[in-house]
Symmetry: C2
Subunit: 324 residues, 2 copies
């Protein structure tokens, strides 16, 4: 199981390969939120999302003999790119299983990072079964997107940085809003903050109608989403919280927050205008929660993770025309 020592070991193995993203702010966003808002822009991470951290953590921890046979992953896109680049930088093959309806730019990018992409139908095919078969045939190591302790440890390095940067900014008490799909980033950050900055409490952010984590936190047991597609926040749509991640979330996180698609798109546009960062809708739900759900927040300062930036340019252009 992931603990603070594993997270610190993951950071050691990264050794400068991941960007230490800054903590950003804007008086314009503070005014909208009615409180101090700090943003951790993991969209600026290599491959455009925090997923590079988990991918690197998992690939770098493999025994060389095992690693050289290659790795396999399934992902709506960001984990795909993270694992693909991590494998490529280690000089080993990567096979990525992606849903056929993933944004085109994510499929193209994954291929461009040198991975072999296998497409599947999100509604009718079982990605786990496809992954298991391919792993066995080729001797590939499966790198799960969130229910994998080494991946959680890699994502937890975001939490180590937040703990340090909050301290530098003089912030001892704050809610840390994290865009939550399967819970890998959220659980990693929560574990890091538990050890390093206990005054910082994690809250999850999700799109409405896909708020399995918020409902699971409320009921105390794993709840599923009714639909598995149909959200513009594709990056963070998962059937349910992970079996490994959920107990961590349950122990360490406050109540979950669900935002509308329009709120996510408005947050994306505000991040463009005020922070000069490109955030995808699913990566903007935590900022949307910070800006538009103040009545559900308790602290004077909040820290929102902008988790990814792999948005199709047509979606951004459309949102700019509507909300800028």
């Amino acid at each position: 199981m992931t603990d603070i020592a594993m997270i610190e070991a993951a950071r050691q193995r990264m050794n400068g390969e991941a960007i230490r993203t800054p903590l950003m702010s804007s008086p314009f966003l503070d005014e909208i939120a009615g409180r101090k808002v700090l943003i951790k822009p993991e969209c600026l991470q290599r491959t455009g999302s925090f997923k590079f951290r988990g991918g690197w953590s998992a690939v770098s921890a493999l025994e060389p003999e095992v690693r050289k046979r290659g790795v396999i992953a399934f992902s709506s896109g960001n984990h795909a790119q993270g694992v693909a680049l991590a494998a490529s930088l280690h000089g080993v093959p990567a096979v990525i299983i992606m849903p056929r309806d993933a944004p085109k730019i994510k499929i193209e990018n994954t291929r461009a990072y040198g991975a072999e992409v296998v497409l599947y139908d999100r509604a009718n095919e079982d990605r786990d079964a496809i992954g298991a078969t391919l792993s066995e045939e080729r001797g590939l190591t499966l790198i799960r997107p969130y229910d994998e302790p080494l991946v959680i440890a890699g994502q937890g390095t975001v939490g180590l940085e937040i703990a340090e940067q909050a301290q530098e900014a003089g912030i001892e008490k704050a809610e840390v809003l994290v865009c939550c799909g399967g819970g890998g980033l959220t659980s990693g950050v929560a574990l890091a903050l538990e050890a390093k900055a206990p005054g910082l409490k994690v809250r999850t952010a999700e799109p409405e109608h896909f708020d399995d984590v918020a409902r699971s936190l409320a009921s105390g047991k794993i709840e599923r989403n009714a639909a598995l597609s149909g959200s513009i926040c594709d990056a963070i749509i998962t059937p349910q919280p992970g079996n490994i991640t959920f107990p961590i979330l349950k122990r360490l996180c406050g109540a979950g927050i669900a935002v509308t698609e329009e709120e996510a798109l408005r947050a994306m546009v505000l991040a463009f205008q005020r922070l000069k960062i490109v955030v995808e809708p699913g990566g903007a739900v935590a900022l949307a929660a910070a800006l538009f759900h103040g009545n559900e927040l308790e602290t004077d300062s909040v820290i929102a993770v902008a988790s990814g930036g792999n948005v199709d340019s047509a979606i951004m252009a459309d949102a700019l025309s509507k909300y800028a």
Copy 2:
């Protein structure tokens, strides 16, 4: 005159107020350029450009008695915002003189940072005369956008960071491409690199038809632009290099590079797609030089400063529809 001690003193006075922007890269950009390209994204700096550094440096260095009367600046927008926020954070008034045709977002932002904005006509009015009169009337200290040693020292902190980050990345020899208007950023970076990383050589980047610096470097004396407006790269259009900055540029910089407007817009779109950063056209000319003017470059690695991100969203949406 600005020297390395002044630049280091400026960094001391900043004391965490400015973001230490990361050094970014993308294999996609390396492939286009045919060499390693590192990007210093100062568009992520507070107020959306490096100008906050110079503004902070100048305001923070004033005697308290002088500072409390307030400051005045003229600017097409980015210097305006940098000085406005620096003054606001010091709790002193700022008057900003801006051209009437500056992008609307820059005028609005400058007002929102608490400054009083005075508009003038770029073609028919003398901004220096307006500034001098107002300074005298109210006892304001004029903060020039580039021909001011304390401002150059503040911008030079970008160079200190580049020197450190290039060393961390194992890069000893590279050309450092800097978007150049009046030469404040360029001369500050050049002075910092001369002292801290002599293997890094500064090259200037400008839009074609407004390449006064490149022509001045070629002839060895200050040359003027024929036009003073009409470029989409509004942020870096100045009549001529500064009297203080030009001797520094002449001593330390290689030949200047001029890029087309289309190249600047394409670089802006590639920065959006591949780095997830929002760069304005004038802030993208150095990246454009790195990507599209390889035949004018000499080193295997280049570092391009993305100097500002205050672009109107309509311009970005239009560029995305054309070039993404």
